[in-house]
Amino acid sequence: MPDDPPIVLTAQNLTREFDGVKALDGFSFNLHRGEILGLLGANGAGKTTAMNMLLGLTTPTAGTIQVFGKELQQHRVEVLSRMNFSSAYTSLPGNLRVWQNLRVFARIYGVPEPKKRIAELLDLLEIGYLHDRVTGQLSAGESTRVNLCKALLNKPDLLLLDEPTASLDPDIADKVRKFVRRMQKEHNIAILYTSHNMRDIEEVCDRVIFLHKGRVVAEGTPEEIVNRSEQASLEDVFIKIARSGEVEE
């Protein structure tokens, strides 16, 4: 469609085999500027494999990834400088202070006026008081928000968020969801979002892709998928897909 915003990320026929088993099988999708795309699936569905390939951490067995119109494998550094990533399963060095960790990454990404940018982001996330704290002593919620700060330092055009609300209490999870939405609206960032929390997905994502055993089994807005599957909620769709691999009755 002519009105569609430009494509930021294109994955074509991504396939990844581990010891003859396909963790991802012919996965294709586009992600547009300003769109939040949710990647859903039970454990082992292929989400993490897909995410790792999109970050250049795992090489696809077959298929191609284009980010900002460039092949990821061949233009890795150039592409990564315009992207960022935050995961519940990684952390910043625990024995450094928050400002030290953020200054290091600000320098890696070549952020102009890093002190100002860090202060601005910490304030946005309502964690200005953490500036001098030791990273390893933060709570899960504080740590997640510091990781988000790191992920936004370079004003990315593409952001990959791997279960950003995992292990957060409902209050902080709500703040994180609202913050992600706000960033997307204000800065038109394309975001790829994985989560096991269906509330996250319904509130945050414009469109979702369900994976099952490495293959796409459903795609659309959360409402479209719920209606098509004749289930009561996205959570029920998730359970149905996880158990049967099918969306429709």
Partner: protein, 266 residues
């Protein structure tokens, strides 16, 4: 090569060391123990053997100090990589716009800083306790130092490649790898003492052997042996190129096999 990125990575290790005083144990304590134990033992042997053992204290202390140059350079590479694994920060670094070469050069820089701290302390203590002054070797010290630095970097890249290949379970290799070669590179004794004789050919194929042989020659005769310097340098260039290739191909294989993320988040 972007030096802004290299300096950012070096900065991170500096923050880490200044924030963790226990790192001083590794940088200062163990080298001091070596220096004291071997220094006192040599003094004892020297006193009891009279003049039948020429230059033992100088040989031994020179060996200890110069070996530490190699060991700290190797540690700079291997332990810096492990620091990222231990802090679960490896993924953040590998998804940032950091080239492998920038990452490796930053660990080389950390190696140099570690050497400066450890070797300065050792030289001070060796001078105060044993009147051993390494600077009597004069300008010859510089090529010895540079060759050991290069060899330490090579061993550091090989250690890191082995850890990447076998995972965190193999992390003790970060400390063990230099000691695989230590008995055969004539650190504390001349190459002629290595038996059986055929192992001496293996020893001569190692760059540090030429450095330590050269060091003893300077101490004994005051002559800098160009033959040893030439071979140490040539072998180091070969070792450095080979270990860089081993490291980058192991990293590429780790990516191909999809093990990098498992490794980084385990």
């Amino acid at each position: 090569m972007n030096f802004r990125i290299v300096s950012a990575l070096v900065w991170r290790y500096l923050f880490l060391y200044t924030r963790t005083p226990m790192r001083l144990v590794e940088l200062v304590f163990w080298p001091m123990v070596d220096l004291l134990v071997w220094g006192y033992l040599t003094l004892f042997i020297q006193e009891n053997a009279g003049h039948s053992l020429p230059y033992p204290i100088a040989y031994l202390l020179g060996g200890i100090v110069l070996w530490d140059v190699l060991f700290r350079a190797q540690q700079g590479v291997a332990v810096s990589f492990l620091e990222d694994v231990w802090t679960r920060n490896l993924l953040n670094v590998f998804v940032a716009p950091v080239r492998t070469s920038e990452y490796v050069v930053a660990t080389f820089g950390v190696g140099i800083m570690r050497i400066l701290v450890t070797v300065s302390m050792m030289l001070l203590v060796a001078f105060m306790l044993y009147q051993f002054n390494v600077f009597t070797m004069g300008w010859a010290l510089l090529p010895f130092f540079l060759n050991l630095l290069l060899c330490g970097w090579s061993l550091g890249m090989i250690s890191t490649a082995l850890i990447l290949r076998w995972g965190q379970a193999a992390e003790s290799l970060a400390w063990a790898v230099p000691f695989f070669i230590q008995p055969f590179v004539a650190v504390f004794y001349p190459i002629g003492s290595i038996k059986p004789e055929w192992i001496q050919y293996f020893a001569l194929a190692m760059p540090p052997t030429h450095v330590f042989e050269g060091m003893r020659e300077v101490m004994k005769t005051g002559t800098f042996n160009m033959h040893h310097f030439f071979w140490a340098s040539v072998l180091n260039v070969i070792f450095l190129a080979a270990s860089a290739w081993i490291f980058s191909s192991t990293l590429a294989a780790t990516r191909r096999r999809g093990l990098l993320t498992k490794f980084a988040t385990q």
